[in-house]
């Protein structure tokens, strides 16, 4: 069983909704990332999504675009991101780490060398935003062969046929994009999300995480009522951006934000 499946199984037994923070590797500077990952776990993160910076992040809103730009000023490559995961693994053998990014940096390395290096570094899954399952069979094969989970997105626009296809292609969990838009937008329709999740659950037993518009402990709690995982990206990255010139304060601030989300989510779990 993969570290991701294992973690979700464990959480399910404890009736706990997973909290998955997203940060961009190397933002605002490389030295911040690994200690921040540990701080997030300390504050209550169950899995970590680590963004691989890309020059043309087409599916991201301004907050995560700018995080990519800050990281790229330090020339953070995919190889460098893998080094960071390896370093994180030295003192955390349990928390699953998922890389989230775009296809081109992987194309440059090559699928098989990427899968080998990611696996060796201790990565557990990869979510390639601009790689739909129709184009993904070659990458899925090499990821699976190395025990890595291919994570896929589902969206409000996904039809029943697409949900089935993606449930087939994915493992680990499925990431439901809660709104029509880019990361960090703020017009989530809670009822629509709940209804769509019901439809998705009718077609797969995989855990379903929800993300793209979760900005506060209140929204996180509402989503936690029906999701297996809550993904928080832009709201966290925005706080990191505000402390870009005082990086020594990032861990404490990000930690307290994650802890507040954790507490809010757990209240829902306790009530359920």
């Amino acid at each position: 069983m993969s570290r991701i499946a294992d973690r979700f199984e464990n959480l399910r037994k404890r009736h706990r909704t997973a909290l998955i923070p997203f940060i961009t590797a190397g933002d605002p500077q490389p030295a911040v990332t690994v200690p921040l990952m540990h701080a997030l776990v300390e504050a209550g993160a169950d899995l970590i999504e680590l963004g691989v910076p890309f020059s043309d992040p087409m599916a991201d809103g301004p907050v995560i675009q700018q995080a990519s730009e800050r990281a790229l000023r330090h020339r953070i490559s995919l190889a460098r991101v893998l080094q960071m995961v390896k370093e994180f693994r030295e003192t955390d053998a349990d928390t699953p780490v998922i890389l989230m990014g775009y296809l081109n940096p992987i194309e440059v390395i090559g699928y098989e060398p990427f899968a080998a290096a990611a696996s060796a570094a201790g990565v557990d899954g990869a979510l390639v935003v601009d790689l739909p399952p129709e184009e993904a069979s070659a990458l899925i094969e090499v990821l699976r062969a190395r025990g890595l989970d291919p994570i896929f997105l589902l969206a409000p626009t996904s039809t029943a046929a697409r949900i089935e296809m993606i449930a087939e292609a994915a493992s680990g969990f499925i990431y439901y994009v809660s709104l029509r838009g880019v990361t960090g937008a703020s017009r989530m329709d809670m009822q629509e999300v709940a209804d769509k999740l019901k439809e998705i659950r009718g077609k797969t037993d995989l855990p379903v995480g929800v993300g793209f518009g979760i900005s506060s402990p209140e929204v996180a709690a509402k989503v936690a009522a029906f999701a297996d995982a809550v993904v928080v990206g832009s709201a966290l990255v925005k706080r990191i951006a505000e402390l870009a010139t005082q990086p020594e304060k990032i861990n404490a601030d990000a930690g307290s934000f994650i802890a507040s989300l954790r507490a809010s989510i757990d209240k829902v779990g306790a009530a359920a």
Partner: protein
């Protein structure tokens, strides 16, 4: 050999093309594919398109024999396909007219587009004005500075021009931003991509709308010379004017196809916009194609005196035509393009766009070797009025 029939069902030209977008756009792209398949075979749609191309765009565009220029080059007879005489002054409108009709058939009320030099933005704003559709054009903040006149033209036409401040603040970033708008407003919005790039079906659809250039050329040259040309030459940024000219000739092996990229300060300098000549295959903007990228897969900034060629990718069909050997891709630098700009202006009284000047510069190299029986058709894809400030600035003149 079976006739050319790419792309396949999923938009592949060999290993290139395809659909590489986030899940939210997969269904809207499927709807666009279905709508396009339906209307391209619909006689009413075709009739409306043909009428617009004739009465609004001003087609067919002439195929002009450049007698003095041919004599000066001392070789082949050179014909200019006069896309510069279209409404709005470039080939771009062939495509925007077609996509706008499709948008209206699909019930979309809002049009978005990306633009670099502003030609596609103007062509989009133009058709949106005519059909009474809301229009938003994304343009890199850097390009807005360089192309103030086109920005004002778009505003006069009623479009909102949104400056894009992310990344390198140029065309590629405008495309990213238009995609982000589309993903947010898919229900009422139609995204008119201006070149043969992007996710399927855009490369095929834009090609089909631009192929009118090649179909007319074929008829015109047969009427004039009684045979097909020896060579077709066109500039390649994203590659829409080149594909438009080449496509109806792909099965005619005796017609050589030359795509001319922008070598900027020279290929060796690294400051250029020539992914086919000096890039590698990768994935950007929804398709797999040749790209200008760093060793770790980041897209790098391009350079060309011609804003319309200043793009780090290229249409996937060109990538396939290159690998298959059917077309040849070459590059000419800023200086060569400017020399051709001046020469055509002085010898024929036709001021070409700097984009088209790249194709002309290559004709200067190609024509002498073909001999007096040779025939070359070059796509004069746009007029040069928009570029006079750039040309003047290069010569230290303030207009």
């Amino acid at each position: 050999m079976s006739p050319y029939a790419l792309p396949d069902e999923r938009g592949h030209f060999g290993r290139y093309g395809g659909i590489f977008v986030a899940e939210t756009l997969m269904q809207p792209l499927a709807e666009l594919r279905q709508a396009y398949e339906r209307y391209r075979n619909d006689p009413d749609f075709e009739a409306e398109l043909q009428l617009d191309l004739r009465d609004y765009v001003g087609r067919p565009s002439p195929l002009y024999f450049a007698r003095r220029w041919s004599e000066r080059l001392g070789g082949a007879r050179v014909y200019l396909k006069r896309e510069d005489l279209n409404h709005t002054g470039a080939h771009k409108i062939n495509n925007t007219v077609g996509q706008a009709l499709l948008a209206r058939r699909m019930g979309k009320t809002r049009i978005i587009a990306e633009t670099g030099a502003g030609q596609h933005g103007v062509a989009t704003a133009t058709v949106a004005a005519r059909l009474g559709l809301e229009c938003v054009v994304y343009m890199g903040a850097e390009d807005i500075q360089r192309q103030a006149i086109n920005v004002y033209r778009m505003k006069l036409l009623g479009a909102e021009v949104v400056p894009v401040e992310s990344g390198s603040r140029t065309l590629k970033d405008a495309l990213n931003e238009a995609m982000r708008d589309w993903v947010t407003n898919v229900d009422n919005t139609f995204y008119i991509i201006g070149t043969v790039a992007g996710p399927h079906p855009y490369p095929a659809m834009v090609r089909d709308f631009q192929a009118v250039i090649g179909r007319e050329t074929r008829e015109q040259i047969l009427a004039r010379e009684g045979r097909l040309p020896d060579a077709l030459v066109a500039c390649v940024g994203g590659g829409s004017n080149a594909i438009g000219l080449f496509y109806p000739f792909i099965d005619d092996a005796e017609v050589a196809l030359y795509g001319v990229e922008a070598a900027g300060d020279g290929l060796a300098s690294g400051h250029h916009a020539a992914p086919l000549c000096a890039g590698q295959p990768g994935v950007l903007h929804g398709n797999r194609t040749y790209l200008m990228e760093s060793s770790d897969g980041q897209i790098i900034e391009t350079h060309s005196v011609s804003a319309g060629l200043d793009y780090p990718g290229v249409g996937p069909e060109h990538a396939w035509l290159k690998d298959s050997g059917r077309a040849s891709y070459v590059a000419v630098d800023d200086g060569q393009a400017l020399a051709a700009f001046h020469e055509l202006t002085r010898v024929e009284g036709i001021m070409p766009a700097l984009e088209s000047s790249h194709a002309l510069a290559y004709v200067r190299e190609l024509a002498p070797g073909l001999g007096h029986d040779g025939i070359i058709v070059v796509n004069l894809s746009g007029r040069g009025d928009k570029d006079i400030h750039t040309v003047a600035a290069r010569e230290g003149i303030v207009v």
